[in-house]
């Protein structure tokens, strides 16, 4: 496989053909924010947070777009930041008031992104208080808490379950606004073929899949 040279934020980079922009940047220490991607997973490009400017009419998602020779990639500018902020605000607009993830393992990527982008007030209606029915929770598992309201449908858990642990339990179900993740043929998690490995919790970027409180009793 031949190598491809391009510039990312003014840095001259050379990577093997077929590398994504996100990977190429990561290899050179340039961090592009992203929610739906994890280096252990095949990228799907659904959250669009990693959008970058390659001089085209639209902003492609760096996690799926392959590098091209001579490409000039800008990973952050006013337009990109505005785009990221709006997406982040929209995702936050129907999040629960508190992130369970912040209270358990503390690594809520959506919250971290909102902090980084200095999101505070936003003009979008509160998606939870409009005519949309709440998305519901599944507390059937003794170890994994499922809060569909916090889910951003990034598919990380689906890929972790299928492609990392190969347990093939989690999938998507429903249509339109009611799309959510489901277990087996949409049964409660505890009744599904889930083996409680917790990989979905490990990869989830929000409070949608978190550990039940198991902390030791003293």
């Amino acid at each position: 496989m031949s190598d491809v040279s391009l510039t990312i934020d003014g840095v001259e980079v050379t990577v093997p053909e077929g590398t994504t922009i996100w990977e190429a940047a990561a290899r050179y220490g340039i961090e592009i924010p992203v929610l739906c991607h994890d280096p252990r997973l095949e990228p799907v490009g659904v959250c669009r947070i990693c959008a970058v400017d390659v001089g085209e009419r639209t902003l492609p998602a760096a996690c799926v777009r392959h590098v091209e020779a001579g490409m000039n990639v800008i990973t952050a500018n006013t337009e990109i930041t505005a785009h990221r902020r709006i997406l982040t605000e929209l995702m936050l607009s129907d999040q629960p008031e508190q992130s369970r993830r912040e209270a358990t393992t503390g690594d809520d990527s959506l919250y971290a992104l909102a902090r980084e982008l200095k999101v505070s007030d936003f003009p979008w209606p509160d998606a939870k208080s409009s005519s949309n029915p709440p998305r519901g929770q599944d507390d059937s598992s003794p170890v994994i808490a499922v809060d569909h309201q916090a889910c951003i449908l990034c598919d990380r858990c689906v890929r972790a379950c299928d492609d990392i642990q190969h347990n093939d339990v989690i999938t998507r179900t429903g249509k339109g606004h009611s799309v959510r993740i489901g277990f087996d043929l949409d049964v409660p998690m505890a009744e599904s073929s889930c083996v409680s490995c917790g990989e979905c919790v490990a990869v989830c970027p929000t409070g949608a899949l978190t550990h039940q409180f198991l902390g030791e009793t003293s």
Partner: protein, 726 residues
């Protein structure tokens, strides 16, 4: 949400440190970090990028960490009260005939047991132990003492425990639960290739065209290893499973052969028959790397596919397809588990798998190799450290005068020259009055050894029993002295996983109350008994172990670091060897050892028409001492159930979840039924973890003549519906 105004940083992270260490459970040896607060409370586990897990964990590693903080932890030494003699079981469930639907199950009830002990100071407890051991030795000689170490302890603890038994007590009667899992595999491997450890790591399955999964159930017992097997299958590796009970991973296999219990030798001999008949064997490899092919060929000639079919129940054409798949593969790995090893002919079973690898030239190249999946997190290391009756550290024979001389000068004492007794032999010897004293560090033979009714008698017959553990185990109910020890997450030490990778744990919490580090207890006892043991810390113990065992040359706590290394490690900067025996075996040529199909000792008849198989399940660990005290694991899998085929259930009039009584020639248990087609008609499966339905009340104490491993997989039982119970 209309606005975003959470605190500056996540609340959960304040005051929580992530400490890199290991999972305390299985031989996969997953690297993880515990998120711990200042009080040593563990809040969560996070997978690290370890060589064997790549951030993955299973339910035990992810959620089973809270047992160390269980309120039943022992915090003070305990001494048996005078009123509690004659020695016997103290809790209801450890008595005879005590299982059933109307009795609460679960862990040892302290309210029943505690009144029979009194708290003591360490000074008093250690003095009493030193006296007790000395008394047994004076009355019956050093070989009246025996010790059970543990594959849950570190290499350092295993090394010191065997050193204690050999130098302070003066006997080779020291063993641990490896005897109950892979002793036969290790015997066959040392005989066949000269090394008892795996020849290649699990994750190299990604380079294998074919992988055989023989008598193992990795999705339950080595879950993260199983994830790499399934990943390889998704990328094109053909997995071939052979088992008596359908393992979960069969869903990902290109072929699954369900053999009759105990027919492994017939099946593999027939496979080898086909490989030779169809000229699929690796003649160059056989010629240059092996010996004994003619004998093997003569043996497997007696097993054409039709004979294989008759004996194993697998149709001849499936045997042929299996043989072709393996014979034509350019690379194949062979994994095996307790379904191979835990038989009276376990060594013969393992010999067949080794022969299969030698016959097809599948050792020493990427994507090839022999891999007995080791069970406990440190069963490999405990054996390496000499926690076995016939070897000093590094598999150096105690019967070899020259080796013995070397150890005598290293340890500065005279050493006994006869190999000691193995686990089950120690129980037998106790019953016969030859073993009078027992030191049990982290083992629970009451539940883990076959034929509990005999074990109960054996423990009751002892003159002196010391148990060193986290909790009052069923075994500890018989003890004269119980010492409160330290849990995995309270100690620093090295642990060697199934891949031969030596990795280091870190303490994240303090032992509760007066509980002490196991190695401190050993050191203090040795000093009290007149031996000048001085180790500044765990790494000094490890250094002495390395000096004793060239197998671990070039390793130290410093270079093992947070990521670990494989042994053998050719020089201090090397990562160690992933793949062994590319050019030669430690014994030069690999040896074919032909095996003839044997007969199990406890076969069904009219009175006991079923065959009972015992084993493990995903959420639990061995005798349940840890996992049944983990809230999460206990909540997911709170009770024992015996697997029964629906056709048999119909004949017996048993519905799912209904109670049945299982009776063998030695004992009986009452347990709920789980109807499943995973087991073959006429066979049952009962997990070993639950004391209220203790599988080992039923099992037979017969042993494999070479590995001295008990027959845990075949025992004749009768099944009766307990219809009066709802």
């Amino acid at each position: 949400m209309k606005s975003f105004n959470p605190s500056e940083s996540a609340a959960a992270l304040a005051g929580i440190t992530e400490v890199p260490t290991l999972c305390p459970y299985c031989g996969v040896g997953c690297a993880l970090s515990y998120g711990v607060d200042a009080d040593g409370t563990i809040h969560y586990a996070r997978g690290r990028d370890g060589a064997s897990n790549a951030e993955r964990l299973c339910v035990k590693g992810r959620y089973g960490f809270d047992y160390a903080a269980h309120p039943q932890r022992l915090t003070k030494p305990l001494i048996r009260r005078e009123s509690a003699y004659p020695r016997g079981p103290l809790s209801q469930f450890s008595q005879i005939d005590s299982s059933g639907p109307r009795k609460a199950g679960g862990i040892v009830d302290y309210t029943e047991v505690m009144p029979h002990f009194r708290e003591a100071s360490w000074e008093e407890a250690l003095e009493r132990i030193a006296e007790g051991f000395t008394r047994v030795r004076t009355n019956g000689g050093p070989h009246a003492m025996a010790g059970f170490g543990s594959a849950k302890g570190s290499n350092e603890e295993a090394y010191l425990f065997q050193k204690f038994m050999r130098t302070v007590i003066g006997t080779n009667n020291v063993d641990h639960c490896t005897r109950l899992c892979h002793a036969s595999s290790v015997y066959a491997l040392i005989e066949g290739i000269g090394s008892g450890a795996v020849t290649n790591v699990v994750r190299d399955i990604e380079n294998a065209e074919v992988a055989i999964l023989a008598g193992c159930n990795p999705t339950a017992n080595h879950p993260v290893a199983a994830s790499f097997m399934k990943q390889a299958a998704a990328a094109g590796t053909d997995l071939l499973a052979v088992n008596v009970r359908r393992p979960g991973i069969a869903d990902y296999c290109s072929q699954y052969c369900q053999i009759k219990p105990g027919s492994d030798v017939a099946f593999y001999n027939a496979v080898m028959h086909v490989i030779i008949a169809e000229d699929l064997h690796d003649k160059a490899f056989i010629e240059t790397r092996t010996e004994g092919f003619a004998e093997l060929k003569a043996m497997v000639e007696e097993y054409p596919p039709a004979v294989g079919e008759r004996l194993s129940g697998v149709p001849a054409e499936e045997i042929i397809a299996f043989a072709r798949q393996l014979g034509q593969a350019r690379s194949a790995m062979i994994f095996w588990g307790m379904g191979i090893s835990q038989h009276v002919f376990g060594t013969d079973n393992a010999r067949c798998l080794i022969a299969l690898a030698l016959l097809t030239g599948n050792i020493g190249r990427p994507g090839t190799g022999l891999h007995p999946l080791r069970g406990q997190n440190n069963v490999q290391g405990a054996s390496d450290a000499g926690l076995i009756p016939m070897y000093y550290p590094g598999y150096q024979s105690v019967a070899d005068a020259e080796v013995r001389k070397r150890f005598e000068s290293l340890w500065g004492v005279d050493l006994p020259d006869t190999p000691g007794l193995t686990t089950a032999e120690i129980t037998h010897a106790a019953l016969e009055g030859d073993i009078r004293g027992l030191y049990c560090m982290g083992e629970n033979p009451f539940l883990s050894d076959p034929d509990i009714n005999r074990v109960r008698e054996a423990l009751a017959s002892l003159d002196f029993l010391v148990v060193q553990d986290l909790f009052i185990t069923e075994t500890a109910e018989f003890a004269d002295v119980i010492l409160p020890a330290s849990a995995f997450m309270e100690k620093c030490g090295t642990f060697t996983n199934t891949d031969r990778r030596v990795q280091k744990s870190q303490p994240v919490r303090q032992p509760p109350g007066e509980a002490r580090q196991d190695w401190h207890i050993l050191r203090d006892l040795a000093q009290r008994m007149g031996h000048d043991w001085n180790y500044p810390d765990e790494s000094a113990v490890f250094d002495e172990f390395v000096k004793a065992a060239p197998l671990y040359a070039n390793l130290s706590h410093t270079n093992i670091g947070e990521t670990g290394r494989w042994y053998p490690c050719p020089h201090p900067d090397s990562q160690g060897e992933r793949l062994l025996f590319a050019d030669t075996f430690p014994i030069g040529r690999g040896r074919f050892v032909p095996a003839q199909l044997g007969t199990a000792p406890d076969l069904p008849d009219n009175d006991y028409p079923f065959i009972l198989n015992t084993g493990r399940q995903l959420e639990h660990w061995h005798t349940g001492v840890m996992t049944r005290r983990s809230r999460a694991l206990d909540a997911i899998a709170p009770k024992a159930r015996v697997e029964l085929h629906p056709d048999d259930a119909r004949k017996l009039g048993v519905a799912n979840e209904e109670w049945v009584e299982l009776a063998s020639r030695r004992g009986s248990v009452q347990v709920q039924a789980l109807l499943t087609r995973d087991v073959a008609p006429g066979t049952l499966f009962l997990p070993m973890h639950f004391r209220e339905a203790a599988a080992n009340l039923l099992t037979s104490p017969a042993l494999d003549p070479f590995g001295k491993i008990p027959e845990f997989k075949i025992c004749a039982v009768a099944v009766n519906a307990l219809s009066e119970v709802s």
